[in-house]
């Protein structure tokens, strides 16, 4: 079984792979120190891992257990992610280097020619 995980999720998995089964509270502490995430953010990511089936939780203390092994985990390829990202409405309250819509290949080669002609 191969499971595609985001960087954030891989970070949580990494903690579980090295530390073994860990209570969520402890994961949040480690993540805060290692990655700088707030407790809420870490819990959000744990929830995503649970939904995906990458980890399991055991009571008491919300102990998390890695279902997916290091070998089974795989990074998401960026193109897939981007397709996901643009399904929704774009975020207009940030400053992004490029527009959030994509250009066609023809358009991009036209822009390249434009730069050449103006140089």
């Amino acid at each position: 079984m191969v499971m595609k995980l985001f960087d954030s999720e891989l970070n949580i998995m990494e903690i579980l792979w090295t530390e073994g089964d860990t209570p969520a509270k402890r994961i949040a502490e480690i993540a805060k120190e290692k990655v700088g995430w707030s407790k809420t953010t870490t819990y959000t990511i744990i929830k995503r891992c649970l939904d995906k089936g990458a980890i399991e939780r055991h009571e008491p203390n919300f102990v998390c257990h890695a279902v997916v092994t290091r070998e089974q985990a795989q990074e998401h390829e960026t193109t897939e992610l981007i397709n996901k990202m643009y399904d929704g409405a774009p975020d207009r309250l940030i400053a992004s280097l490029l527009g959030q819509k994509r250009l066609s290949t023809e358009e991009i080669s036209r822009l390249k020619r434009l730069i050449d002609s103006m140089e």
Binding site: I45, N83, D91, A95, L111, L114, I115
Partner: protein, 554 residues
Amino acid sequence: MSLLQISISASVFILAVIFLRSLLIHKLPKMTFMFLWGVALIQLLVPVSVQSQFSIFTAAEHISGMYTAPKVISAPESSTFINGTTVIMPPITEHVTAPIMPLKTASQISPFVWVWFVGFTMCALFFIIPHLRYRKIYKMAVPIRNDFIRKWQLSNLLWRDVQIRQLDYISTPLTYGIFRPVVLLPKNLDYDDEKQLALILTHEFTHIKRFDTLKKWILATSVCIHWFNPIVWVMYILANRDIELFCDETVIRKFGENMKPSYARALVRLEEKKIGLSPMISSFSKNSTEERIISIMKIKRITITTTLLAIGLAACVVVIFATSALDKTESATGVDEPIAYSEPSLYQGAITTQIVPALSQGGTTTDLMPHDLTFNKKYDVPKLIDSLMASKYRAVYMDNEIYLRVMMDNTVQISKDNGAVWKKYDTDEVDAKEFAKWLLINDPIPGYSMKEVQTRLANGAEVKHLVFENVKEMYFIIDRNGVQIELVQPEKISSVLIDGQRMMITSAISAQMLKSFYDLLVSNHILSETLAEQDYSERINYLEKNLPNFIVTK
């Protein structure tokens, strides 16, 4: 000033900026447009507080009010006879009506305000919901271990703590957060290309230094408030582009002009990285990218000439369009408008009295004036006012329809059956500042010291407002010195009142009515019977002697 009027007057300026931009976007330093958009935002956002929008954004009501409220009274043409050198004026029974523009009160929320509010809320959610959703994702970014970035950041310290992190969900570098900004870099960036990294980081740090995220929030706010105005939307799109162009310009100036092609190519390369077949290719972003590339390639060294040209043009646009728009706004405000409309009606009054120079020497001009008679507090009615202040009441009013009294706690009671049953009436609160302005312009009732009233209003007097079925209105100015009633009557009717300031008789009054008024004072234990008799005859004497037309005998 209504929101609609603000929007319209600002649109004039925005259209001028759009025009200037279409001609000179690649010629002038981008700073020029940032400045002009800033002026537009001030026009759109500053003249109103949220509260005043609610109270005045009753656009249609307002406009219809402007056109219908001042009743133009036809001049009594037949009333003037010229008899040799003497002008004889028949007693006037139709009186010139004071121009009236009812002041809108906070409690009247028209359907227009609701429509606006719904639009505003939807628009705000349109911006905020995606942002909050993405923010959750941005928080999941991980630290970057890259020596070049660490070194670069150490040599470019800002006073705000800036974090640079990596996120695999995004395809383009971005900056979010206003006070604790975070730069997010996509995972698929070429982290070995240090030249490109430096360009990207300089670009993002320029955004941070300039508070461009805050600018975007303010732009979004303006578009939410003015959602009904397409010109403001166009401004929103163009100003957002100009934020980017200004940022590019700064990066190029920092790295030198020969970096222009590399920078433009870097942008196209990053654009290329986003590729993936998507049906959502917008021609609008195509145009904006092209505009951006051309703008980068055309960046020139700023010379004294271009600086002066930019300053001159910006100043011209602001002076011509922003100020004229402001003037327009001023005269279009609900408060000012009645002047324009009331003037004709006043002039009609003046036309009938054109022959007055001869007449006024006869000293009977008073007959031509609206028959408002005020007994000044200091000289004429001190006893009466004192008795009033010693009683349970703060003001008493009477006309042919109602009796009204203001209690010590400033509540208003009205009787419609000549004082047999009194019922408490609810009043609206009116903003004292708005009222002061309105009063200054409309001056509905002569016979009080404008200066004094304005001082009281400025010193925090409260203003309450009451509207009767027949459009008659009353304003109660209340402070520690007591109550002062201002009447607004679309048609002049006979009335008499005493309040903490003066006794006033409006329009011709019958002796009978004046008598009833004194009876009312007696029944409310304000005056004793003897004092009332005495005062009544003094009043009648005064009127008969000085204003023979004032008392209408049955």
